[in-house]
């Protein structure tokens, strides 16, 4: 398996764009139940623009690629997910060292830390953090244990899905869903769902590269 490079990371971004487009209505539907019915539209708009930006001026390296995605999310999405996913890619871009699985895992952790720093959500607040943090932990652990990126990303995707599901029964404590109080319980958090798609897209592209 080749090291991660601009092409493979680009494949990840494109696969994620495809996935949020495929799941656009579903994400919006989740957001209708406990939010304001725009999460699918937001993610679709942002990731479509990110791919267009990459097409328009192919990035020089992996860091530039992630930065383009970050800046596009920040300047095209708005809402809560724009700054958070934007920060995620921005911090990843800044932290990415080389193309090794360990570097990727570290950069991913930096991205998630950025989301936490920006949004100040804790575990079990019922946000995207509940998918991203477990994913990051699983990824680091697997890579640290010497597993290959494919296996590590599969573990991360499983952990993300488990994290998302684990907070579904909970009452939201951050973001718009928190306004609903008890009524937010037993609904899947839309941001957690889009984060699961992000990690699955990584597993489907980077893992196989």
């Amino acid at each position: 398996m080749a090291d991660l490079d601009t092409d493979t990371l680009g494949a990840w971004v494109r696969e994620y764009a495809r996935a949020v487009t495929e799941h656009r209505d579903e994400l919006t539907e989740l957001d209708s139940a406990i939010g304001d019915a725009d999460h699918g539209t937001n993610m679709h708009r942002g990731m479509t623009a990110a791919v267009a930006a990459l097409d328009a001026s192919p990035p020089a390296d992996a860091a530039a690629l992630l930065k383009t995605v970050a800046m596009t999310m920040i300047s095209k999405v708005g809402g809560t997910s724009g700054p958070l996913y934007g920060t995620f890619f921005l911090r990843m871009s800044g932290a990415l060292d080389d193309g090794s699985p360990a570097a990727f895992a570290a950069a991913f952790r930096a991205g998630v830390d950025g989301v936490v720093a920006r949004g100040k959500a804790e575990l079990r607040d019922k946000t995207m953090v509940d998918a991203l943090l477990p994913a990051s932990d699983a990824l680091s652990e697997a890579v640290g244990a010497g597993q290959d990126l494919d296996a590590a990303l599969r573990a991360a995707a499983d952990a993300a899905a488990k994290g998302r599901d684990s907070v579904t029964p909970l009452v939201a404590r951050k973001g718009r869903a928190s306004y609903l109080g008890e009524r937010s319980a037993d609904h899947v958090d839309p941001g957690a769902e889009s984060s699961v798609l992000l990690v699955e897209a990584a597993a489907a592209t980077l893992g196989r590269s």
Binding site: T41, T80, L84, R176, R183
Partner: protein, 333 residues
Amino acid sequence: MKKLINDPADVVDDALRGMASAHPELRIDPENRVVFRGDAPVSGKVGLVSGGGSGHEPLHGGFVGLGMLDAACAGEVFTSPVPDQMVAATKGVDAGAGVLHIVKNYTGDVMNFEMAAELVAAESGTEVVAVVTDDDVAVQDSLYTAGRRGVGVTVLVEKLAGAAAEEGRPLAEVAEVARRVNGQGRSMGMALTSCTVPAAGKPTFDLPAGEMELGVGIHGEPGRRRVPLAPAREVAEMLLEPVLADLDFTGGDGVLAFVNGMGGTPLLELYVVYAEVQAVLAKAGVTVARSLVGSYMTSLEMAGCSVTLLKVDDELIRLWDAPVRTPALRWGV
């Protein structure tokens, strides 16, 4: 979905195009989706910038003009604008006296305005102060929520801080007026119907005949609880009860009472609600010094209303009565 639009993806740009045609006294930057006062930046004056998701018209673009906002950023429907827009707006209104950001308390709005302020700080010497509005008593202001939402009081902050800025007062004082107004204002809303986000294409929630949602916000989000449909008299009580419980509005110079339509409720009904609000306030010993009745902060075509009370004093009354010339609020000029 039955809407007077073209492509749902174009609704914000199309509406800004219409606004630009209808209001030649404003200057609209279509790229950045910013509505500017025609004469911005106004020399020596603190610049007021607000903005938020679209779908709440006339908020915020309809409040741009003399005595109110200098610029408003229009996001996608119900989605906070992005930092680039806020940076463009801030630069465009900066006349050297600093810029006030009026931000409704939603996670997205707060984060995007924060990032914009960071960018402005990094790029220029413009002093930016942000005031966050959070007047919605339907939401508990606790560690377990994103805090109270910014709703009706935002309109009042824009008017009152706008008047203070127009008087030539310094940024710190203008911000202080904004903060004081937010601190002395409380709101509560309800909905009879859901609205439909154009890009989503169907109602955000189902609200069967005979039921209404209490404690809704302005983004078509479901409320705190669903109760049987009630006469306007009882609706006024249900809305005012938590407002009056949250802050003592009796005594002093009275209140500014604001009955706001959510978009789909006709003015006829808003006046019916206002009559009942008056009656509840009279019984509670609250004096109304000023009032505002109309659809000023809407949630697309949602039917429903909100009630905002603001404790006022001589200064706030003077600022309220001060001249304002915007598409949606205009007097004295």
